[in-house]
Amino acid sequence: MNPIVEFKNVSKTFYTKNGPFQALNQINLAIQEGDIFGIIGLSGAGKSTLVRCINYLEVPTEGEVRIAGRDLGKMNQKELRRQRQEIGMIFQNFNLLMQRNVLDNICFPLEIAGVKKADARKRAEELLEIVGLSDKAKSYPSQLSGGQKQRVAIARALATNPKILLCDEATSALDPTTTKAILALLKEINQKFKITIVIITHEMAVVEEICNQVAIVDAGKLVETGSATDVFSKPQTEIAKQLVYKEEANQLEVGGKRYVRVVFDGNSSFEPAIADMILNCRVRVNIMGADMKNIDGKAYGQMILQMPDEDVKAQQAIHYLEERNIIVEEVTAHGNTGTH
């Protein structure tokens, strides 16, 4: 089967007064139908330029971009327009129509696609509901917060049920909760309608959560590409490692002089409580000893953890466990001193 999006030796050079600048350099890439394809890379790497080539908003200076096997460069204007109608796009800076209210902004692509007014309105209202902005239907973009604008842009891109959805940092202005809802939505439409999604993001969590394929762009070159599993489990290049491994973790304070005993007495369910604590509180605890059992889905046993000296972190971690009905006792040189 043909890939739905295919780059063949695509290069893009911008000619500026300060000389030419090569934003894309010999990109070869294939995106299969139904993929959720993540594109990551440093700021200015060329991600947006690459994605903008997919709907020919950026015309490559070299090479071919093919959608479902057809070279965009060989299409006439009308064919290109028809093709574009099947490609939704969420822009990095939203590009909402300032003189239209939220509802009409979402109706906009439907109008272009020639959908009847009443139907368009209905669809727009549905989408507004989904992105949680029903109460802002009559507001204008200038009256919205950053995240609200982004949600309008998302709704707008989804309005026409495109076959391909291009998301240029579609959740960068959203809080974690809203982000999660949007990602769930994207996953759902991907599975339900086999929509291909190309997603640029700086949040690795987003890639991990929904992408099955990943490409890493660095200084205009495609340096790594493959299944999300491969790239994330075995990043090859320096840049990939930098992006995939959350370096921040290594900057957290290393386990210090403080030890705690964590006791599971059957009151908590058998779940990776320690892993969750580490993930949620971002504490780099050292596991000194453990003996755990799973009896009827309940956790029994205990663990000795070396906590960071930093009080904030330690406190937060302990609080987290206690909230989950786990007993935490302070230990001095493996000796007991008291319960929290």
């Binding site: 709907n55 908003l57 290109l80 327009r81 028809r82 093709q83 574009r84 109608q85 099947e86 490609i87 939704g88 796009m89 822009f91 800076n93 590009n95 909402l96 129509l97 300032m98 003189q99 239209r100 209210n101 906009f108 692509p109 109008e111 272009i112 696609a113 204008y140 973009p141 200038s142 009256q143 026409t160």
Partner: protein, 221 residues
Amino acid sequence: METQELIKMLAEGSVDTLYMTLVSTALAYVIGFPMGIALIVTRKDGLKPMPAVNRILDIFVNILRSIPFLILLIAVTPLTKLIVGKSYGSTATIVPLVIAAAPFIARMIESSLLEVEHGVVEAALSMGASPLKIIVKVLIPEAKTSLIVGCTIALSTILGYSAMAGVVAGGGLGDIAIRYGYHRYQTDIMLITVIVLVLIVQILQEVGMQISKRTDKRVRG
């Protein structure tokens, strides 16, 4: 002149002026609007780059812009006669007024549409919108405020031109002001006439600015 007579004259003048100005502006927009849009669309970085067409249009607009109004007035006499049946009177004045104003309006439109942010045009392009749809649904609505302000400027400019209507017996306040104030030194009549003119311009300006403010959704609050 008797007061009553004066009032009658001013009333007639106002009607003539408004008639010529509004009808001319409307018709000039009918011609100038597409011209302005064509000027934008066929630019090298436009929606449908056609350098040759752009060049020709540009020169055509400049030619019309270059001809002194008085010359235009007589040059188009045959056309005027063809269209309105006679070549004098206020209706006849409308033809040269339209021809003089259309290229001015084209330039104003061009200038307004140039200011539309490229991002929203890109958004429309990405949705597969045709140039026509982009013009109708993006360029014009997004430039709305500027277009309305431009229209206000055009209206008072055309009202200014209409003062020359006297040459072809078009009447109107401008003609009255010139006839009495300029040729016959009746400064009082001239003053009153100019005051009426000022009132008309003030109202047109006010209406235009209000509409532009009301319909502008870009400002916060």
